[in-house]
């Protein structure tokens, strides 16, 4: 192709404009053609592509664990920054008969069972949990969808519960079994943390929100707060805690209800 230039070495303006128009037309044409073909989307959603892009979460987790120390705290806010209403999503009013019965009695019969790979399995009533040393923190909840909400949580640091039941050396994950069935799913909600996140000082089992008893919409009687993780880790309507060496045999085997549906187990990003 011979460059079109005059003696001064400048591109002739008219030629340049014609080229711009032709180029833009070609560009839009190509875009339209690629949309029609849709072959790109088949590649993007293929099993092989999903395996490749899914594997980078291990890199992300390793990198984030490298820069965030075990103890590094999520920012805590002032009371003036608390959102007027704490947004709810997922299940906001579980309809399971067992849960309705517990709710009707003000959770007086509710017990948090803690078992699995522990030396001393135990159950905790709500009153027993409230009698333990508590932590109150005003933190930001970041939903995987992209919104954030600031609330004040009061609860028992999970470390205290773990100290009471004494995890065995083989225990690698803490599983949180819930009462709710999200979107009418056949199996109840569940989540998991590894021991680093479980022992984090801001990881608490919360029974209070904004100085009130935790409302049903936000997970009454007890929910998890793991403040360095996204919202789907913050399991609501807790019924049972189980320590395991692997979550491969639990429900879909990915360590959580959303994880079984394609979301990353590492919810730090």
């Amino acid at each position: 192709m011979k460059p079109q230039n005059d003696k001064t070495g400048l591109i002739v303006p008219d030629v340049a404009r014609r080229r711009l128009i032709a180029g833009l037309a070609t560009g839009f044409g190509a875009l339209g053609a690629s949309v029609l073909l849709g072959g790109c989307d088949r590649l993007v959603t293929s099993d092989a592509a999903q395996r490749v892009v899914g594997s980078t979460q291990k890199l992300t987790q390793a990198a984030q664990r490298l820069v965030a120390s075990r103890e590094s705290l999520a920012r805590e806010f002032d009371a003036s920054q608390i959102a007027p209403t704490f947004r709810t999503n997922g299940t906001t009013n579980p309809q399971q008969a067992a849960y309705r019965r517990l709710l009707a009695d003000g959770f007086s019969d509710w017990q948090l069972r803690v078992g699995g790979l522990v030396e001393r399995p135990a159950s905790f009533s709500l009153a027993a949990l409230k009698a333990m040393p508590s932590r109150t923190q005003i933190t930001r909840h970041d939903c995987v969808e992209g919104w954030s909400c600031i609330g004040q949580w009061t609860g028992v640091p999970l470390t205290q519960i773990l100290d009471a039941v004494r995890p065995q050396d083989a225990a690698r994950y803490v599983i949180f079994h819930c009462a709710d069935h999200v979107y009418g799913a056949a199996t109840p909600y569940y989540e998991s943390l590894d021991m680093v996140e479980a022992h984090h000082p801001q990881t608490i089992l919360a029974y209070g929100l904004n100085r009130q008893t935790l409302p049903v919409a936000n997970g009454a009687p007890l929910r998890l707060r793991a403040e360095r993780q996204l919202g789907y880790k913050q399991a609501k309507y807790l019924m049972q805690i189980e320590l395991v060496d692997s979550f491969a045999s639990i429900q879909g085997g990915k360590g959580g209800w959303w994880e079984d549906r394609g979301y990353q187990w590492w919810a730090g990003i």
Binding site: P3, G9, I11, L24, T56, G268, I269
Partner: protein, 300 residues
């Protein structure tokens, strides 16, 4: 040796006198871009395409932007939505502050495989095409890793490489010819010379050292673990939701850069520009003037 790709000799591949010319003007092909720049450019272009389209997929999960730490749901800075008009027809909307724009067909309401669907960005703009947040996130983070690793190495290379410095570092001559460069751009007149013009230098510097690092910084501060590790990051960006808004704005500034970049590549010599970014060769209009400008740096 790694730096050998940055051989500063720039030996001319060929020179010839332009035919039919009264004046002895000689054009010549110089080596404009080193191999690392060329590889970086194309991998980066692919990464940015994946990042933009998967980013729009992620945005669609909650198509509203806020300012501050948390979301002020009733008062978004920007929101894309849909409603059903009195006649039952779906209407797509873009709200920026208090201004509402009807965007049916593109934003809010669009067509997907012949079906009219309510979604913020249309399926042809998102990756994957269907509403699939988890997979969009995985593509986004994978491309972000490649993009970040490439950008960090490229910025280091840009600072230490003589060729890159000579090409993009502003000089006092650039300050003097700045007005001239603007006038020439407005007249769609583009000189084919060895060095970037002042507008090119400023744009590339702002994108390389401003916009692209800002994408990474705002992206990182949307991670709750990163916020705990580096609490100063969301703080300097005005909060977590502000960072998300800045991430979105920066992405569209980059897209604007892309449009202008492609338009200018087209009008200033498509073949010559593409060649300089594939084989590295770039034909300059007047080799003799170039030689005198370079003050004897050339060896051949």
């Amino acid at each position: 040796m790694a730096l050998s790709i940055d051989n500063p000799t720039d030996s001319a591949i060929d020179t010839h006198a332009s035919a039919g010319s009264d004046l002895p003007v000689r054009s010549a092909v110089i080596k404009r871009h080193g191999v690392f720049t060329r590889i970086w450019h194309w991998v980066n272009a692919l990464c940015l395409l994946v990042l933009l389209m998967s980013g729009l997929q992620i945005f669609n999960a909650h198509p509203a932007l806020y300012w501050g730490h948390g979301s002020t749901f009733a008062h978004p800075v920007l929101a894309i939505g849909a409603y059903r008009a009195a006649d039952g027809q779906p209407v797509g909307t873009l709200d920026i502050g208090h201004h509402r724009f009807i965007t049916t067909g593109v934003l809010g309401v669009s067509s997907d495989n012949g079906q009219t669907v309510a979604r913020a960005f249309p399926s042809w703009a998102t990756l994957p095409g269907s509403q699939w947040l988890s997979l969009g996130r995985e593509w986004h983070f994978t491309a972000a890793w490649v993009f970040t690793a490439m950008l960090v190495s490229y910025l280091i290379y840009s600072v230490i490489s003589g060729r890159r410095r000579r090409l993009i570092a502003p000089t006092s001559r650039d300050a003097r010819t700045f007005g001239h460069a603007i006038v020439e751009h407005l007249r769609f007149r583009f000189e084919r010379v060895r060095h970037y013009n002042p507008l090119q230098k400023l744009t590339y510097l702002a994108v390389l050292f401003g916009l692209l690092p800002l994408m990474i910084a705002t992206g990182l501060s949307m991670s709750p673990t990163m916020d705990a590790a580096w609490p100063w990051l969301p703080a300097v960006l005005g909060g977590h939701q502000s960072a998300r808004t800045l991430h979105f704005i920066s992405a569209f500034l980059l897209f604007g850069f892309f449009l202008v970049h492609v338009a200018l590549v087209l009008v200033s010599g498509l073949f010559n520009n593409l060649r300089s970014m594939t084989t590295g060769g770039y034909r300059i209009a007047d080799a003799s003037e170039d030689e005198s400008n370079r003050q004897g740096k050339r060896r051949s």
